[in-house]
């Protein structure tokens, strides 16, 4: 059971990592093409900025989980170290519940956007906006997964747990 879970997790992380590398490369290529187009070929691509911006939305939504896994989200955790152990655990449980609520609201709320996104087409590319809005539930679900993996051991497990830093 645990083996299957960890395999699925490794698979998800690999996909997310590969997507991240592809997206940043795509953004770079699109903007470079736009500059080349303007100065070298004297021809403008109307959709390069829009496509790069959409890539950025996907990049950030997926990257939020990557940053969680790598411990790149900053926070101030030294204040609660002055609390007694039981209080620390209580605060952590409350904080965990609030974050789950927040990400849940984003994921549920995005369904409304996606419904609109099937009707509305983007300005330049003329693709349904849903193609971009799907980044919200998918990215934030992965964010939630990595957040749970990073936080739950601190609440239930031993006191010295560390998030996986290597990729």
């Amino acid at each position: 059971m645990i083996r299957i879970c960890s395999r699925v997790l490794t698979f998800i992380r690999t996909i997310v990592n590969m997507s991240a590398v592809l997206l940043i490369t795509l953004m770079m290529a699109l903007i470079f093409a736009q500059i080349l187009g303007r100065y070298v070929f004297n021809f403008s691509i109307a959709w390069s900025e829009e496509m790069a911006t959409f890539a950025q939305v996907w990049l950030v939504m997926l990257g939020a989980g990557i940053a969680m896994r790598r411990g790149q989200h900053v926070g101030i955790d030294m204040m609660i170290l002055y609390f007694p152990m039981w209080a620390q655990r209580l605060v952590k449980v409350a904080a965990f519940a609030l974050v789950v609520w927040f990400l849940g609201v984003v994921i549920v709320g995005s369904t409304g956007l996606i419904a609109i996104g099937y009707i509305v087409k983007s300005t330049a590319l003329q693709v349904p906006m849903a193609a971009v809005y799907y980044a919200l539930p998918i990215g934030m679900s992965y964010f939630l997964l990595e957040f749970a993996i990073a936080t739950l051991p601190q609440i239930f497990g031993s006191q010295s747990s560390d998030t996986e830093a290597a990729t």
């Binding site: 990592n17 991240a20 590398v21 997206l23 940043i24 490369t25 953004m27 770079m28 903007i31 470079f32 736009q34 500059i35 900025e49 790069a52 911006t53 950025q56 939305v57 990049l59 950030v60 939504m61 997926l62 990257g63 939020a64 990557i66 940053a67 969680m68 896994r69 790598r70 790149q72 989200h73 900053v74 926070g75 101030i76 955790d77 030294m78 204040m79 609660i80 605060v91 952590k92 409350a94 904080a95 609030l98 974050v99 609520w101 927040f102 609201v105 984003v106 994921i107 549920v108 709320g109 995005s110 409304g112 956007l113 971009v132 809005y133 980044a135 919200l136 934030m140 990729t167």
Partner: protein, 426 residues
Amino acid sequence: MSVVFGGFVLLVFSGMPIVFALGVGGLLAIQLMTDVPLSIVAQRIYGGVNSFTLMAIPFFVTAGVVMEAGGIARRFVDLAAALVGWITGSLYLVGIVTGTGLAAISGSGSADTAAVGSILMPEMKRRGYDVDLAASIIAASGALAPIIPPSIIMIIVAVTANESIGAMFLGGVVPGLMIAVAMGVTCWLIARRGGEAYRDHTAFSGRALWQAFMSALPALTLPVIIVGGIVGGIFTATEAACIALIVTLLVSLLIYREIRLVDLPALFVKSVGLSAAVLMIVSTASVFSWIIATLGAPEMLDTWMRSITSSPIIFLLIVNIFLLIIGMFMESISAILIIVPVLMPIAVSFGIDPVQFGVMTTLNLSIGLITPPYGICLFVSAVVAERRIEQVSRRVWIPLIPMLIVLGLVAYVPEVVLTLPRMFFP
């Protein structure tokens, strides 16, 4: 209103990442204080990152990650050593000059601090420098990165306030260089009276300088491309950042050859994480600032401020003290996103130039990078120096003095900031 801010501070101290403290704080306020459907949260999260201008950030962040791995920082240290290595207290000055140089090609402070610190700190320790002072100086040199263009903080200030990124960038050049010079003089004065440790230095050599210059030359083209490109109207800020990344990749892969193509995916994953950490804060902060705007905070603060004073001088004093305190405790990007939309209109109504106010805000929050208890550059520097934050904090007032003096000039002598931008952006 104070309930919303108080709730946010409590959430931050609960230890949850700031990205969540902003989102949860905003969501709680929307749930408890309005009857707006919660789908507004998803809408704002999307709107926060749906910005072409902000795309400069992932590009600059990626360029910074590649620079760190690709040997550019080391060549800047070598060049700085050849330039100022013959002066008393040389390593402090090498640190400051390198910090200034790296500031001109990178957008954020912590990576610069790590690069300079890890190269210089062992040598500083060997020569018997005051380690805590050295760590403070290196942290402050790293904190120059947001003031001297390019700068992620300035991009966010400019985007938030709807001002020109190019004008803001140019406005930071003079104050940034003034801080570098003032810090250099401070260090030289200390080193001159500081005893034997600081007299150990290498003789000046024209040939060594030339060699170091040639070796750093490919990397030195970057500030020219970035600032020249934006100011000349050749590139947008986003395009300039993209070109900077491509040049950095070419220099690191083909000229310095310290990284290979196969190293790139790992570096990109790292930079995507770092970029997302920044831009996700922009997103969740836009939830928070939406509820603040909806509850009418800008008008309330405006009325309150006017009831206290009608003098721009007093207004600037209050704002600076406020921002310095914020900078002590808060992460700079979330601070901007919450504060700038509220304060900028008030500043403009007091007759203050938005570019000057933007640079002043940036400088305040850069100072925040080295002020305890929460300062990223100070953290990084202390880790590299293998000292505790409290130990390094005891010396941090020394680089703070020149920074605060320049802050005073920026606040009360607008020409310090505005002369350059006015030449290029009428």
